[in-house]
Symmetry: C2
Subunit: 576 residues, 2 copies
């Protein structure tokens, strides 16, 4: 491909609103162009990367007999109302109307439509299991689109859905997807972690998240040098609490004027913060207009993990109580709460680490006062102990290794859905015994356009982008240093032709630009190998440069093809 025929609008300046390295470099390198806040155009180079990723995904899906099809992006609002998501999805759902007041949504995901198609297409377990997928733009009206194509309003996703008549079919499809995702991300050359993700109240290993470590990632990944990885909501660590053995002392109420935080109370009372109970007060939504007040106790320095609390309470939603609610149920300001004297209408949960404490301090539900020497059972009730705290770096993970934290970009998610959608939409099949059963579903997704950001974040350097060869827009960049010199241009063209004939994607910089401009652009757009045809062309010698390492080697023109093949193989092995 001639560089003069392709649109690569490189630039020395990044857009003023670009914060992330990937955003800056993809914009500077002419890969992407912002049409509107969070709405992007993929210029030819960016789209070539997308297409290479799509190809890898398709190949891996072929291997596990998943079948491609294509849903519309405009979906009738009716089926979204049927499953309750028309309202539940919130402000991120784009809604619009057409002629005759027909209502539509722009699909942010397609569970409803696939369930509808399968419901109307499949009547017997004999035709199951089936796994269908699509590669398609999705739409979410993000409140804060940012980091270029990492978080945008229109973005390409791979989304797959499995349908089976029994649990075994779901498990097999889920495992197939998990394996395919590993293959896909391995081939893309991405550093990623497979993490235990919170799967709500379903429990069990029903969900895995794939996350690419990167500074701009919006999730915190908890991981170890061993096997363990989980998101912060789900992560657990080994319990290392030791039962305190002090004799229980007398419960005393003390004035602690102005002490609203654990640290202030610790200072006021002169005791260790971890000997003070932190009491968090929540309202758990159990159903329509049905709320359960919940108090969660933990050591003063620990952080509550709301997901763990929500799962324990099995609620639809969990929200921190307001000042009014604290006053109503406990008669005090949220900074002065504690478990002593709390009525049965409030459920009291306590973290496991609380169980081993003796003679704790706690808020007295009386502003400006704390109790000291409070003890479980004698002075207050605990309805349920459990792991309700957020883990911290350095703690010991379940695999025995110390926990580390990193930010991560969510790049994939697989999920055992079960029968929720089938039930709501009446998607049933006859099973082996001739009885109607709900189809059991799984849903699976990869953020395709977001992968560009993840790879760029992990690989770009100060000079520009650096693509793994598997998804690079071209394999080789051939640069005649002076395209006006006939010998250089002809040799470059011959090398290009030879490389293309051997199946490689080659970009030749046939522009009449200065050498400095060409080299800077070449570094910026980040093609894995560069073949420079310069003055030594007259001696039949060219230079090959590896973008990633900056290493160069001079070879004879007739050895370029061979050398390129070897170097690309080496690079591919390094990326594994």
């Amino acid at each position: 491909m001639k560089q003069s025929k392709i649109l690569i609008p490189t630039s020395k300046e990044a857009p003023s609103d670009a914060e992330a390295l990937s955003h800056k470099m993809m914009a500077r390198a002419g890969y992407i162009y912002q049409i509107s806040s969070g709405v992007w155009s993929y210029l030819p180079m960016g789209y070539r990367v997308i297409r290479k990723i799509e190809k890898i995904i398709r190949e891996e899906m072929d291997k596990i007999d998943a079948v491609e099809m294509m849903m519309p992006v405009m979906l009738p609002a009716d089926i979204w109302k049927q499953t309750g998501r028309y309202e539940a999805y919130g402000d991120n759902l784009f809604k619009f109307s057409g002629r005759n007041d027909r209502e539509y949504v722009l699909g942010p995901t397609h569970e409803e439509s696939f369930t509808e198609v399968l419901r109307d297409s499949i009547k017997s377990y004999k035709k199951l299991p089936l796994v269908v997928y699509q590669l398609q733009d999705k739409f979410r009206d993000e409140a804060r689109p940012r980091y270029g194509v990492l978080r945008s309003k229109e973005f390409e996703m791979f989304d797959a859905y499995s349908f089976s008549a029994d649990q075994a079919g779901l498990d097999a499809a889920y495992n197939d997807q998990a394996k395919a995702y590993r293959n896909i991300f391995d081939r893309i050359g991405l550093d990623y972690k497979v993490i235990l993700a919170d799967s709500g109240t379903i429990g069990g290993d029903n969900s895995q998240e794939f996350s690419a470590p990167a500074e701009v990632g919006e999730d915190v990944i908890v991981y170890t040098d061993g096997d363990y990885a989980a998101n912060l909501e789900k992560a657990t660590s080994k319990f290392t609490g030791v039962q305190q053995t002090d004799e229980p002392a007398e419960l005393v109420k003390k004035p602690t004027p102005g002490a609203h935080t654990v640290d202030e109370a610790a200072e006021s009372l002169g005791i260790d913060a971890n000997q003070i109970l932190k009491a968090m007060f929540f309202m758990a939504k159990m159903g329509e207009d049905d709320y359960q007040p919940v108090m969660v106790l933990m050591r003063g320095n620990d952080t509550v993990n709301e997901t763990k609390v929500a799962n324990a309470v099995d609620c639809e939603d969990l929200e921190l109580a307001t000042e009014e609610q604290a006053q109503k149920y406990l008669g005090a300001h949220p900074g002065s709460l504690g478990p002593v004297g709390v009525g049965e209408d409030v459920k009291i949960l306590a973290d496991n680490y609380v169980k081993v404490l003796v003679n704790m301090a706690c808020g007295a539900n009386d502003d400006g006062h704390h109790y000291v020497n409070a003890n479980i059972d004698r002075d207050f009730r605990v309805d349920e102990f459990g792991d309700f705290r957020t883990v911290e770096e350095g703690e010991i993970a379940p695999d025995g290794n110390p926990i580390k934290f990193t930010n991560g970009i969510e790049i994939g998610h697989i999920f055992k859905l079960g029968t929720g959608y089938s039930e709501k939409m009446g998607a049933q099949v006859l099973n082996e015994n001739g009885r109607l059963v709900d189809m059991i579903m799984g849903c699976y997704g990869i953020g395709v356009s977001r992968l560009l950001s993840a790879v760029a974040e992990q690989n770009a350097d100060e000079y520009g982008l650096v693509w793994p060869d598997s998804i690079a827009p071209f394999d080789v960049h051939v640069i005649p240093v002076n395209a006006k010199k006939k010998d250089q241009l002809e040799m470059a063209e011959q090398i290009t032709k030879d490389l293309e004939d051997s199946g490689l994607d080659v970009l030749i910089d046939d522009r009449k630009e200065r050498a400095g401009v060409k080299f800077a652009d070449s570094d910026l757009i980040g093609i894995p190998l560069r073949v420079t045809v310069g003055k030594k062309a007259s001696e039949g010698i060219v230079e090959i440069k590896i973008r990633k390492t900056g290493e160069t080697v001079e070879v004879k023109a007739e050895e370029v093809n061979n050398t390129v093949q070897i170097l690309l193989k080496q690079l591919a092995n390094q990326d594994d």
Copy 2:
């Protein structure tokens, strides 16, 4: 690919609203599924056809150095307002809002966005010409979606845009596209016509339409057995009028009570309908609130061609005058109009065939009366003669051959846009002389999903679909008649493997269905070749059937691969 793993929900019944053969058969064969009126899902078989068409388009675009990229489908309303199309596009444009009242449209076409990207990316003629394209879903809120995916609200298009600094660049891009379209449609095996399309007031050969003859086509194509093809708006025929030589007789006004049509007047006056002037009265919109009344005269049996009239008047829009407007300007009912005594404020056009008439009859602008023996110049004024009539079958086309009519499906359109968008959006480059010039644009489109309908209309038969091999979802359908018999299944699997190894797409019907069901499904889904492995498998013999002709041949299992290759080549040659 195993048929048990792919979703092909065949059915004996077509949807009750299906009128077109292509709609019926694609729905019955499980290629498409309607999600909502005019909104379709492409099931795996349908999507495989789409993907094969996309591949052909990409290969032909590569050949002419057109470059693929991808725009968003949600577009900010701003740039559509800038070009005036936000209002002008009318009710077919889907409009919606997101957070912070940001307004968007769903792109029905992308001139604005490409102009914006190129404007911001290209500053010099040195980087031009460039041709960029995309394969993408488009959106139009059709008032009457119908014929399955032929006319739908969301549909896939190929759309390309060329940008150049001079006319030569535009001409080259336009000619490249025209050639590529012929290659594409040839390879798809479609019967199509390249027709002269109306290009509004620009004149010249600025637009070509590609149309596939089919009964359900919504355009009338005028063509000959020679080279000529045009749409009905644009078609012309050789003038065969002969000057009448009667002496002009005296103008007489006659009562013709109740005669509102040409035929009624002819009967009332006892003269030939073609000796009566049909006077059509239009209001031509020349600009904002600026209307020109226009009377068009033609022979009584001729049909006015509004496009030709609009081009002659050079107006923005042409509408038949209302009863009130006829009364206001001419003082009579629209059925009683004529040119005699009409003031200078009304422009009078007459078809060339009127020029040779002598002693015509015409409406007298007095309800219930006609003039007879009216003559040009003596009795009425004609401001301009021209070709304002619609051609008819049997007339002689400009190429000397008799004109035929057929219905056609518009499958492609190429168009020299000029500088309209560049001017409105400030898309300029420096030319060779260092002066800022508007980029000159062309736009080009192929209806990708609609091609499925066109091919199916031309090729389907009473048993189902018949695909040309170039876009068939699979090349070969292998059917073990009884999949429970080990020898049949094993031989079928071996044949499948051999064919796949030689690069073919093969579907094997591994389902435990009755033979009759398998054969009926096979005919319905229309894969070009069928290999049936039945009882003679024990003798090592199978049957190959050509879907299109129904011909069968028995071959030894080891000859299947070779025979299939030969048959596919023969079929490809027939389609040319």
